[in-house]
């Protein structure tokens, strides 16, 4: 190490990389440093008249994690955008292919950390199909009960985030009360607050216990009131409703073309719900409605989710009353070696269709594991919905689609 020459009289050799770094530090252009790889990239990274790039994320306050979007702006209007993914990539599919069937459930968990149980479920279902396991009915009811709780948790957080992205400070903390009660409940049931790792091939890990039931009963007695209270903050707020109505309109055809599922699809008027369309578990025995809206805008997406909370409460109520006695795990061999083959399973999560496609080659590890995640699919419709809106609305559109970056980047 030589002493640095005094500032100002430094001779700067132009080929010294440190000097160049010094000069360029802090100046960041969102344009990639390599030549454009596709026509689309070339077109996007050429600025038109009066346009500018703005780099939103991966450390932006409202990109829901580590999404990076390069926005092409004209004034404040979004002209075009380029989402850059992969900041949270962990290679979950590959990890699953190198773990045995039981282990890979734990890898599925942190995909969407807000709705972990829904990430486990399709994988577990697909494994069960491969292994031809009959799941005990009590286990099925427990699965439905715990996942519906998880759905309410996810939707109430969505409400808070939606309001936070529109500048409201209070709803996020009110909805966190809801979320915390359910997290405590699920912690009593599964042992974890966030990444439950609860579903097992052929059942669930442990029967429902007294603490869970007392917490659940306590909460159910006031859940409807609490949720109505929280909704009162936003549903009658003129500013909120005016900003959301007619914003980010998604029509039926585009939604189908973009493979949108879940509440985002139901907000366009299509009553597609995998719990009814392709029934799994004990959903045929349960009564619930499929809330839909015809507008397809942000407000509709928000309201559909809020209606779903009420339906979930109905399902939970029925589960508690209909739950039979019996074991919670099927009898299984210690080492799982399914016959060679392939299986696909999908469930209806809080964001849409969660699915897993598993190929087995007869060993104790999946040969190929493919995870279908709704967040990733919904994020592609951002390209259709955002252009033409202001930056503020772009964030509202993002929030109303409710992507979780853990699931997008896998």
């Amino acid at each position: 190490m030589t002493a640095a020459p005094p500032h100002g009289q430094r001779e700067a050799p132009s080929d010294d990389p440190r000097v160049q770094l010094d000069q360029d530090a802090g100046v960041f252009e969102p344009v990639p440093p390599y030549p454009p790889r596709t026509e689309r990239e070339a077109e996007f990274y050429t600025l038109g008249d009066g346009e500018m790039f703005i780099n939103m994320g991966p450390q932006h306050p409202s990109t829901h994690g580590v999404l990076r979007i390069v926005l092409k702006l004209e004034g404040e209007v979004v002209v075009d955008l380029d989402p850059v993914l992969g900041y949270l990539h962990r290679g979950v599919e590959k990890l699953c292919e190198n773990a045995d069937y039981h282990h890979s459930i734990a890898y599925l968990d942190p995909l969407e950390y807000i709705s972990s149980l829904f990430c486990e479920w399709p994988g577990v279902l697909a494994f069960e199909k491969l292994l031809d396991v009959q799941v005990p009915r009590r286990a099925e009811y427990i699965r439905v009960l715990s996942t519906e709780l998880n759905r309410i948790l996810s939707h109430s957080l969505f409400m808070g985030w939606m309001a936070l992205d529109l500048g409201g400070l209070t709803p996020i903390l009110w909805s966190f009360i809801e979320r915390d009660e359910i997290a405590e409940m699920l912690a009593a049931l599964t042992g974890q607050r966030l990444l439950y790792n609860y579903l097992r091939i052929g059942g669930v890990n442990g029967d429902i216990n007294h603490e869970f039931m007392s917490r659940l009963g306590d909460w159910m007695s006031r859940a409807t009131n609490q949720i109505e209270n929280n909704l009162g903050l936003l549903n009658q707020n003129e500013i909120f409703v005016r900003r959301m109505r007619g914003l980010g309109k998604l029509d039926k055809e585009t939604a189908f073309r973009m493979a949108v599922t879940g509440p985002n699809l139901r907000a366009t008027g299509v009553p597609l719900d995998f719990r009814r369309a392709h029934p799994y578990s004990v959903f045929p025995e349960l009564e619930f409605d499929i809330p839909t809206r015809d507008e397809g805008d942000c407000l509709a997406r928000y309201l559909v989710r809020m209606d779903e909370i009420k339906q979930s409460l109905r399902i939970i109520d029925q589960c508690i009353h209909k739950m039979p006695d019996g074991p919670v795990m099927a009898k299984l061999p210690r080492l799982l070696r399914p016959r060679p083959g392939r299986a696909y399973a999908a469930v209806e999560g809080p964001r849409g269709q969660y699915a897993a496609y598993v190929v087995s080659d007869g060993t104790d590890q999946p040969f190929r594991m493919r995870i279908h995640d709704p967040s990733f699919v919904h994020l592609q419709s951002v390209g259709v919905l955002m252009p033409g809106h202001l930056i503020a609305d772009a964030m509202a559109v993002m929030a109303s689609l409710d992507p979780i970056m853990g699931g997008v980047d896998k």
Partner: protein, 449 residues
């Protein structure tokens, strides 16, 4: 090691500070006494000849000194009130009920690195927070806090306030431009658009009031509203007051019009690249602005320092007691009354509870005496001194409005930029013009010259 150094080493930190500060203070006092003795006469003569200079220096320093605690108080209020609305606890560690947290925040930003990003325009970058803060502090000069308690009674006080308040946007634009950051630029431009648009309804909404008062001096406007609360201009100008309140919210960049620093859209707007005390200036200026718009609203529409009820002269309490008239008796009273009263207040506790040690009883007596003294002196000041009562009324009303701003921040989401501009030009501007015409018509009909 000498004996002096050893003793110095044994001292605690507090001792070291005391032993350093006290000699310095002694030296300074001696120097001051020397200066006064040698040059006292000419200095006093000069100041007496130029009393405006004294007045200016005192008013400027008072306003500058006042702005910081005001900002601290409002910041604490915002943290605590929003926390309670969010069903959180909020600050509760530093000081009683966490009330010193904002002071600690202020010290923290003072100690942070003075940083400016690559590519920024250093001079403009440094000046921007100063411009913003100074415009806020300069506005405080003309606010009438109490009868006889104001920085300056300018006969165009209201115009001065709007003019100086408009300087804020220059500072925000400077910050947005010089930061070399697109988020800052967007924030600066947003603030320019917003403040310029809302200045028009803001100014027009008080024109009707000016027709009624016939003066722009805030002091005179407050005086006009003396008497019962029905004299307040909010009852003669309800629409004007409403427009003024909305436009003032936008002027102060408060929720739901806080688009310039919308954190979910443009990170922190113009303040994105600022840190340390430069950010602190922006932060303080925002809260001083909240105080100013609340105070202005109170002075214009809610009677300023006047109490809501006019006591009939027959009921008025007149304390003819003047502490100065007691002469040496005052000194003796100050010397003797506290210990006697403390002992007298402590005695029942010591006698009544045998388990209480004497020193705890004394502490209880001391606390009770302090409460009593504050009540007595405050009550005396409130009754006999006009400006104390006026200041209390003014601050009470002003902080009610500060609370309203905080309340709105806890409750409302943010509007969109086009809704914001549409609201200003399509609704507020016609409404303020309507208010102006109706007022003018009413004045002509009721009171023709």
């Amino acid at each position: 090691m000498t004996a002096v150094a050893r003793s110095w080493g044994r001292l605690t930190l507090a001792g070291k500070i005391l032993f350093t500060v006290i000699p310095i203070l002694l030296l300074l006092t001696a120097g001051l006494v020397l200066v006064v003795v040698l040059f006292g006469k000419p200095i006093v003569d000069f100041l007496a000849a130029n009393i405006w200079l004294v007045r200016f220096i005192v008013a400027a320093s008072a306003v500058l000194l006042m702005s910081v605690p005001t900002a601290f108080l409002i910041i604490y209020m915002e943290m605590k009130v929003i926390a309670l609305m969010n069903l959180r606890i909020g600050p509760d560690r530093v000081g009683p009920f966490g009330s010193l947290l904002s002071v600690v925040h202020g010290l923290k930003v003072l100690m942070k690195e003075d940083f400016s990003p690559t590519g920024s325009d250093r001079l403009v970058f440094t000046l921007a927070p100063v411009v913003v803060y100074m415009s806020a502090v300069m506005s405080l000069l003309v606010l009438p806090f109490a009868p006889g308690l104001f920085g300056a009674d300018i006969n165009i006080g209201l115009l001065y306030l709007f003019a100086v308040g408009g300087l804020t946007v220059v500072g925000l634009l400077m910050a947005g431009w010089s930061s070399f950051n697109k988020y800052s630029l967007l924030g600066g431009l947003r603030s320019a658009a917003q403040v310029v648009s809302y200045e028009i309804p803001l100014t027009l909404s008080v024109v009707g009031l000016l027709i009624l008062t016939g003066t722009m001096s805030l002091n005179q406007i407050s005086l006009n509203q003396a008497g019962w609360f029905t004299n307040w201009y909010v009852f003669q100008q309800p629409l004007g007051a409403l427009i003024f309140f909305i436009a003032a919210t936008a002027e102060g960049n408060r929720t739901p019009f806080d688009l310039t620093e919308a954190d979910s859209e443009i990170v922190a707007g113009f303040a994105t690249e600022y840190s340390g005390m430069r950010f602190g200036f922006f932060f303080f200026a925002e809260y001083v602005n909240v105080f100013i718009v609340s105070g202005l609203f109170v002075a214009l529409f809610l009677g300023g320092w006047n109490a809501p009820i006019a006591w009939p002269e027959a009921w008025a309490i007149h304390l003819t007691f003047d502490p100065g008239s007691t002469g040496m008796g005052l000194l003796f009273a100050l010397l003797l009354v506290p210990p006697i009263l403390i002992l007298a207040l402590a005695a029942p506790f010591y006698v009544g509870r045998s388990s209480l040690p004497w020193w705890q009883a004394l502490i209880i007596g001391f606390v009770l005496f302090n409460v009593l003294a504050i009540v007595v002196v405050g009550g005396w000041a409130f009754i006999s001194l006009d400006w104390v009562a006026g200041l209390l009324w003014f601050l009470g009303k002003t902080y009610l409005f500060v609370f309203t701003f905080v309340w709105m921040r806890g409750t409302l989401p943010r509007v969109r930029i086009d809704q914001l501009m549409g609201f200003a030009w399509k609704w507020l501007l016609p409404a303020s013009l309507l208010n102006l015409f109706v007022t003018a018509l009413a004045v002509i009909v009721i009171n023709p010259r």
